[in-house]
């Protein structure tokens, strides 16, 4: 894609330096420091409360760190906002809000529109293309209140696609979606990677991590490990990240998978 030319210098897409974050004096992230290479699909994994969502929120400028900073292509976020896209957790918005599916996807274009400017024809085209990519083109006029959980997630992804960014941050896009949506998201992630985009995904399902992603960032308050899947996603590192909880955790995962399965069949 036009990607390499846009980048110019070879600064890495995401750099995080000595990042510490706290909520009411309790640390949530402690001295996290890493660099992500371009064109990777990275999963952020770790136990509940490990600071996974917080990490991407800090990089996106939604939370102020106590110390440290993040750089996007070697520059502060403020100059690079147009080159990043964010897929927040589905539950973070009110799905009864009076807008249509296309309206939500068009919001992805707002990053490229000046103040007081309305989205134009080209923006609508891009939004519709994005909807097509997630298999939701037929729903563009639908009110978002009528969507199932999986469809909501796809609309959020389409919105991020419409942002036409170089780096995508996604907060648990696979949480509670049906099998067909999971397949769609996965295919999309791979398309983004082959287009040279960098994708960072908070992921909770340890069973699928190594199938879906090529890099992994393991987090538990501190950075446990980061690197290519084969060398980093090891039992040893998992022990370090999840501690003694790993065995119980695997059982919980099994249980929740079964529950998810029940919920998904209800959805479809």
């Amino acid at each position: 894609m036009t990607h390499a030319s846009k980048t110019g210098a070879s600064a890495p897409p995401v750099e995080v330096h000595d990042l510490t974050v706290s909520y009411q004096n309790k640390p949530v992230l402690w001295d996290v420091d890493f660099t992500l290479p371009e064109g990777t699909l990275t999963a952020i994994v770790g136990p509940n409360g490990a600071g996974k969502s917080t990490l991407i929120k800090v990089i996106m400028g939604l939370i102020e760190p106590v110390s440290g900073h993040a750089l996007i292509y070697g520059k502060p976020l403020q100059q690079m906002r147009k080159r990043i896209a964010y897929v927040p957790q589905r539950e973070s918005v009110d799905w009864n809000f009076p807008v249509s599916v296309l309206d939500v996807v068009l919001m992805g274009r707002y990053a490229h529109l000046k103040m007081f400017r309305r989205p134009g024809r080209r923006d609508r085209e891009l939004a519709l293309q994005a909807l097509e990519k997630v298999g939701m083109a037929a729903y563009s006029d639908r009110q978002i209140a009528q969507l199932s959980g999986g469809q909501q997630q796809r609309v959020f992804l389409a919105r991020a696609l419409a942002q036409d960014a170089d780096i995508y941050f996604m907060d648990e896009p696979f949480a509670g979606v049906d099998a067909s949506t999971e397949e769609h998201i996965l295919q999309l992630l791979r398309e983004l990677r082959s287009a040279g985009r960098t994708v960072i995904v908070v992921h909770h399902d340890l069973q699928t991590v190594s199938d879906y992603f090529d890099w992994v960032l393991m987090l538990n308050l501190r950075l446990v490990a980061i690197g290519p899947m084969e060398t980093t996603f090891t039992k040893e590192n998992l022990q370090k990240a999840y501690g003694g909880r790993l065995n119980i955790l695997t059982q919980v995962i099994e249980l929740s998978r079964r529950e998810n399965f029940v919920r998904e069949t209800e959805h479809d």
């Binding site: 009076p98 807008v99 707002y110 009110q143 009528q146 199932s148 479809d268």
Partner: protein, 311 residues
Amino acid sequence: MTTFWIILTACLASAACALVGTYLVLRKQAMLGDAISHAVLPGIAIAFLLTASRNTFPMLLGAGAFGLLTVYLTEKLQERGRLMNDASMGIVFTTLFAIGVIIITLFASSVDLDHECILFGEIAYVPWDIWFFAGMNMGPRPVWILGLVLVINLIFILGCYKELKIYAFDRQLAVSMGIPVAFIHYGLMGTVSFSTIASFESVGAILVVALIVVPPATAYLLTRRLSVMLVLAVAFGVLSSLSGYYLAYITNTSIAGAIAVMAGIFFALALFFSPLDGVFIRRNRKVTLEAPEAVAGMAAGKNREDSIPLT
């Protein structure tokens, strides 16, 4: 002519309130209108003391400042004090309101600033509150003020339509895109403050809340489009004003009270007969609700699920 001025005042007030109220209702902050309408009292009192007159503009400014202060203090209290949003709001606005009452009773008791009027307003006196400009009779002062506030609201909403939409729907995304969320937030709170203050002279602080919440809530039940919701909210506000005036005329009661009653009646009608989500529609829809996707939607808390099959 008196009738005309009274109705026009009521319509302007309800339109201005409905526009900003729509965003408050969507942000689940409807009671902020209530909080602001009370918390601005010290602002009005201070402006009155400083200028020693019932000149409107200093009062608007004082009230606007205290409106924003209410919002700011509520947010800070929530953040720093680890309190719930509604509790923080309850603390801030009652305290400010009480301070206002004390200022008025201490310093202004000898002069013409009536807290009865601030609470309940009296729209029937509007035609005699004439604005003289360069010796010319320009018509009732409240009409000019409310007209100005309505124009400000319209400019703000039309100019920042997309920013307001994304701010109300997904604030995090808006921040991540670099949209000036703080400007939009305080802009909205400023317009809410102005609308509240300009209106409550006529309809009173309590009924302002009805104008801010009820017509937008009625519109919310009837549409799933933001633009339509804005238009419907204004329409219901104006309709409540017109019918409220005649209700008051027939029953010889308070005009402001009758307007609020009519707004409530329109809301009840929408609640029962809305084609989208009305109680009667829902009853008739029971059979279709048993379709599996609707059940799943219900389980996920989406009881606004439509009956149209999803695939």
